[in-house]
C-alpha cells in the first residue's frame, strides 16, 4: 500500500512537472473530456498496452488537451472475455458518455464491442491490435458505419506480399497448403484472391489438419496440378511433415512461406539443402525516424524498450483518436470524430511528429483549416476505406544460422502493391 502511494505520488509529481514545463504554451483547461479504453489489463501483456495509451494521453494533455479540454482516459478491463468487454464498453458509453473507445486487443472481443456497442451508440472505435479480416468484411458490407479503425495490419499484408514474391519470381501456377484454422483459412482466401489478381493460377488449395497419421493424400492432391511453386500457410509441426512429404514425392523446391514457418525446427527438420529456393514473408516495423523517436520516448518514459506486442500500435491508435477529436472540434460526436480521421492521416497534409510538440503543431494547422500527416510509432499511418492499415514487410530466406532478410518493402511499397491488386 505504502509503495503504491509512493509511486502514485511520483506519477503526480512527474505529471505536474511536465505540465509546468509546457504551461507557458498550454491553453487554460477548465473542462475535461473523457475517452474510453477497453483493454485486457488483467493479462500481463495487456497492461503495457494500456500504459502506452495513457502515455499518449499524457503527452496530449501536456500540449493543452483536446479542443481546450483535458483528456481523461477511463480504463476498463476486458479480461480477454467478449462478455466482460461488451459490459465494460457499454458502461463507458452509457455512464461516462465517451465518444471514443480505444480497444480491444483480441479480435474476438473487439468484434462484439463494435457490433453491439460502438455502432448502435454511434461511437468511434480504434483498436490497436485486432488483426482479423472479419472487420474488413464487416466494413465492406457497410455495417461499421465507418466508425471502426485499427492500427494493426491484417493478414491481408502477409498474403499480398506472398503473392508479390510469387509474381516477382515469375511463377505462373501455385498450389496452397494452409492450416485448417481461422488464421489459415483467412490467409488462404486472401492469397488465392491475390494470386488471381496477378494472373497466377492456383492449382489446388488444400487444408492441412494438425496431427494426422499421414499427409500423403493431402500432398498428393496438391501435387496433382503440377504447380511451379508451393505456398505454405502452415505452422512448423505439420509444416515439416507436409513439406518433407511434398519433397519426397518430387514436388518443387520453389516455396513461399508465411511468417509462421520462420522456425529453426522447420529449417533443421526439412533440411537447408532443400530450402535454397524457399522465400518467406513477414511484416516488419517501419524503418523511419518517427518509429525510432517513439522507441526513444518510450525508453525515456518507461525505462525499457517497447518490446511487448502492440505497444507502438496502441500509441498510434490513441494519438490518432485524439488528433481526430481535435480536428472534429469541441463536443463532437463519434461519427464526426471518425470522419475527421482522414484529415489527420492525410498523406498530402503537413507532417507532424508523435509527441507533445507535434500535437500542438497539428492543432495550429487544423485550426487554420489545413490537414496533417501523422508520423507515428508505426510510420505514416494511412487507413483504407475499411479502416485498415498495412505495414512494411520483409522477404526472408533460411541460412545456416537462422534467417536472413532478402528484401525490405516500405509501407508505401506495400500500400501501392496492395492498391494495384484491387
Amino acid at each position: 500500500m505504502k509503495k503504491l502511494n509512493n509511486s502514485k505520488l511520483a506519477l503526480t509529481l512527474g505529471t505536474s512537472i511536465g505540465l509546468a514545463m509546457v504551461a507557458g504554451s498550454a491553453m487554460a483547461q477548465d473542462c475535461t473530456t473523457k475517452i474510453g479504453a477497453v483493454l485486457p489489463t488483467s493479462v500481463d501483456w495487456g497492461r503495457p498496452i494500456a500504459e502506452t495509451a495513457q502515455f499518449a494521453v499524457d503527452q496530449v494533455n501536456a500540449a493543452g488537451g483536446v479542443a481546450g479540454c483535458e483528456i481523461e482516459m477511463v480504463l476498463r478491463d476486458t479480461q480477454v472475455d467478449p462478455k466482460v468487454g461488451v459490459d465494460a464498453a457499454k458502461a463507458l458509453v452509457d455512464l461516462d458518455g465517451v465518444q471514443v473507445l480505444l480497444g480491444a486487443v483480441s479480435s474476438g472481443v473487439s468484434m462484439p464491442i463494435l457490433t453491439s456497442v460502438s455502432v448502435p451508440s454511434n461511437v468511434m472505435q480504434m483498436s490497436c491490435c485486432s488483426s482479423s479480416t472479419a472487420f474488413t468484411k464487416l466494413a465492406e458490407e457497410g455495417n461499421t458505419d465507418g466508425l471502426f479503425f485499427r492500427t494493426f495490419a491484417t493478414t491481408g499484408v502477409q498474403a499480398a506480399v506472398g503473392a508479390k514474391v510469387a509474381a516477382d519470381q515469375g511463377f505462373s501456377s501455385v498450389a496452397i497448403l494452409y492450416k485448417n484454422d481461422d488464421w489459415g483459412q483467412d490467409l488462404n482466401n486472401l492469397i488465392a484472391r491475390d494470386f488471381e489478381a496477378l494472373g497466377i493460377t492456383v492449382t489446388a488449395s488444400v487444408a492441412i489438419n494438425d496431427g494426422q497419421p499421414s499427409y500423403r493424400a493431402e500432398v498428393t492432391q496438391a501435387l496433382s496440378g503440377s504447380p511451379e511453386a508451393l505456398y505454405l500457410g502452415l505452422y512448423p509441426a505439420e509444416g515439416t511433415a507436409a513439406v518433407r512429404e511434398w519433397l519426397s514425392l518430387g514436388g518443387t523446391q520453389n516455396m513461399i512461406m508465411a511468417n509462421s514457418l520462420k522456425s529453426d525446427d522447420f529449417r533443421e527438420n526439412v533440411g537447408l539443402q532443400y530450402l535454397g529456393s524457399a522465400l518467406g514473408t513477414d511484416t516488419a516495423s517501419p524503418r523511419v525516424a518517427s518509429a525510432d523517436a517513439f522507441v526513444a520516448a518510450y525508453i525515456d518514459r518507461f525505462d525499457s524498450e517497447p518490446n511487448g506486442p502492440g505497444l507502438a500500435n496502441s500509441y498510434d491508435a490513441t494519438m490518432i483518436a485524439l488528433l481526430a477529436m481535435e480536428a472534429a472540434g469541441k463536443d463532437a460526436t463519434g461519427d464526426q470524430i471518425a470522419a475527421s480521421v482522414a484529415s489527420v492521416t492525410d498523406p498530402n497534409g503537413t507532417p507532424v511528429t508523435a509527441d507533445t510538440a507535434g500535437f500542438a503543431a497539428a492543432r495550429d494547422v487544423l485550426a487554420g483549416g489545413g490537414t496533417v500527416m501523422y508520423q507515428g510509432a508505426t510510420g505514416n499511418v494511412r487507413f483504407d476505406a475499411n479502416g485498415d492499415v498495412s505495414a512494411p514487410a520483409v522477404v526472408w530466406k533460411f541460412t545456416e544460422g537462422g534467417t536472413e532478410e532478402v528484401q525490405y518493402l516500405s509501407l508505401t511499397e506495400v500500400d501501392d502493391f496492395i492498391a494495384s491488386l484491387n
Binding site: 487444408a207 497419421p213 493424400a217 519426397s248 514425392l249 533443421e268 533440411g271
Partner: protein, 304 residues
C-alpha cells in the same frame, strides 16, 4: 484413385499393427485401453535413443540399407524398442491396471488408462522436448511406379508394408498352428474355462502385453519413419487405431488387421469426395457407421 488406394494401404499397415495389440488387450482384459496408442510413442522414442547409440558406437551401422532411409542401426534399435515397449506395457499393467482390476470395475480401468496416457505423453514431452524429431534428416525421394496415372511410392513405405505383412503372417501362423496360439485364443474366448484347462492366466496376460507392446513399438517406429516423431503420436493415432479395432470387431486379431487397412483406405479415399479439412472426421464416421450397422464389427461376436 490408385495413388490414394496405395497410400491408404501403406497407412493401413501401421494402423493394423497398432490395432492388433489393442484388440487382444481389450478382449482379454475387457476394457478400452486408451493408453495403448502411447505405446507407439514409447516405441518410436526408444528406437530413436538406441538408433543414436548404435550410430555413435558403431559408425558402420549408420550406412543406409539400399534405397531406404532405414539404417542397420535403426533395424537393431527397432528390435530393442519392441522389447522395451513390451516391458513397459507389462510394467504399466503391474503398476496400474492390475491394481485397478482387483478393486474397480471396467469403467475405472478406462479412466485409469486415460490418466496413464496423459502421464506417458507428458513424461515423453518432458524428457525429449516437444520438438519434432526424425530418424534421418535426409529426405528419401519417392520412386515413380508409373507416369500415367502418376503413381509414386517411397521405398521406406514399401519396406514398412513388407515387414508388417511378414509380422502379420508370423502372427497368423503362431495363432493357428501352435499350442501357444491355441492357449492365447482360449483365454481370449473364456478366461475361466481356459484356466480350468491348465492355462496360466497371469502368464498369458503378460504375454499379451508384451506382444501388444512389441507390435505397437513397430507401428510407432514405422510411423516415425514415414512421418515424424512428436510426443503427440499417441494422441494423434488413438482414434484411427480404435476405429480399426471396432471395425474389425473387438477381440478378433484378423479383424483388427483388416480394420487397419479399411480405416487407412477410407481416410485416404475420403479425400476424393470430402475437402481435406474434414479428413479428421473420417475415423469417427467409420466408428459410427460400424456401431450402427454391425455393432460387433466385421469379425466380432456378441458377448454378454
Amino acid at each position: 484413385m490408385i495413388q490414394h488406394m496405395l497410400d491408404g494401404i501403406l497407412v493401413g499397415a501401421i494402423l493394423s499393427l497398432g490395432a492388433t495389440g489393442l484388440t487382444m488387450v481389450m478382449h482379454m482384459l475387457r476394457f478400452a485401453n486408451f493408453s495403448h496408442a502411447e505405446l507407439l510413442s514409447i516405441g518410436a522414442y526408444s528406437a530413436l535413443v538406441f538408433d543414436a547409440i548404435f550410430k555413435s558406437a558403431l559408425p558402420v551401422f549408420a550406412t543406409q540399407i539400399g534405397p531406404l532411409s532405414m539404417t542397420l542401426a535403426l533395424g537393431l534399435a527397432m528390435i530393442l524398442a519392441m522389447g522395451i515397449t513390451g516391458a513397459s506395457a507389462v510394467l504399466f499393467d503391474r503398476l496400474v491396471f492390475r491394481r485397478v482390476r482387483e478393486k474397480g470395475d471396467e469403467l475405472s480401468m478406462v479412466f485409469a488408462s486415460f490418466g496413464l496416457a496423459l502421464i506417458i505423453r507428458n513424461a515423453i514431452g518432458l524428457i525429449f522436448g516437444l520438438h519434432t524429431k526424425l530418424y534421418s534428416q535426409d529426405i528419401v525421394f519417392a520412386t515413380v511406379l508409373s507416369r500415367d496415372p502418376l503413381l509414386l511410392v517411397k521405398p521406406d513405405q514399401l519396406a514398412t508394408l513388407g515387414i508388417a505383412l511378414v509380422i502379420i503372417l508370423a502372427l497368423h501362423l503362431t495363432l493357428s498352428r501352435t499350442n501357444f496360439g491355441f492357449a492365447l485364443r482360449a483365454v481370449a474366448e473364456n478366461p475361466n474355462l481356459a484356466q480350468v484347462n491348465g492355462i496360466n492366466l497371469q502368464k498369458m496376460i503378460v504375454t499379451v502385453w508384451v506382444l501388444g507392446g512389441g507390435l505397437a513399438a513397430l507401428a510407432g517406429v514405422f510411423y516415425g519413419l514415414s512421418n515424424q516423431i512428436t510426443p503427440t503420436i499417441g494422441r494423434d493415432l488413438v482414434l484411427p487405431i480404435f476405429a480399426a479395432t471396432i471395425v474389425g470387431g473387438i477381440g478378433s486379431i484378423y479383424g483388427a488387421l483388416l480394420g487397419g487397412f479399411i480405416v487407412g483406405l477410407a481416410a485416404n479415399l475420403a479425400l476424393l469426395i470430402l475437402p481435406s479439412g474434414y479428413s479428421p472426421s473420417v475415423p469417427f464416421l467409420i466408428i459410427l457407421a460400424v456401431l450402427l450397422i454391425r455393432p460387433n464389427g466385421l469379425f466380432g461376436e456378441a458377448r454378454t
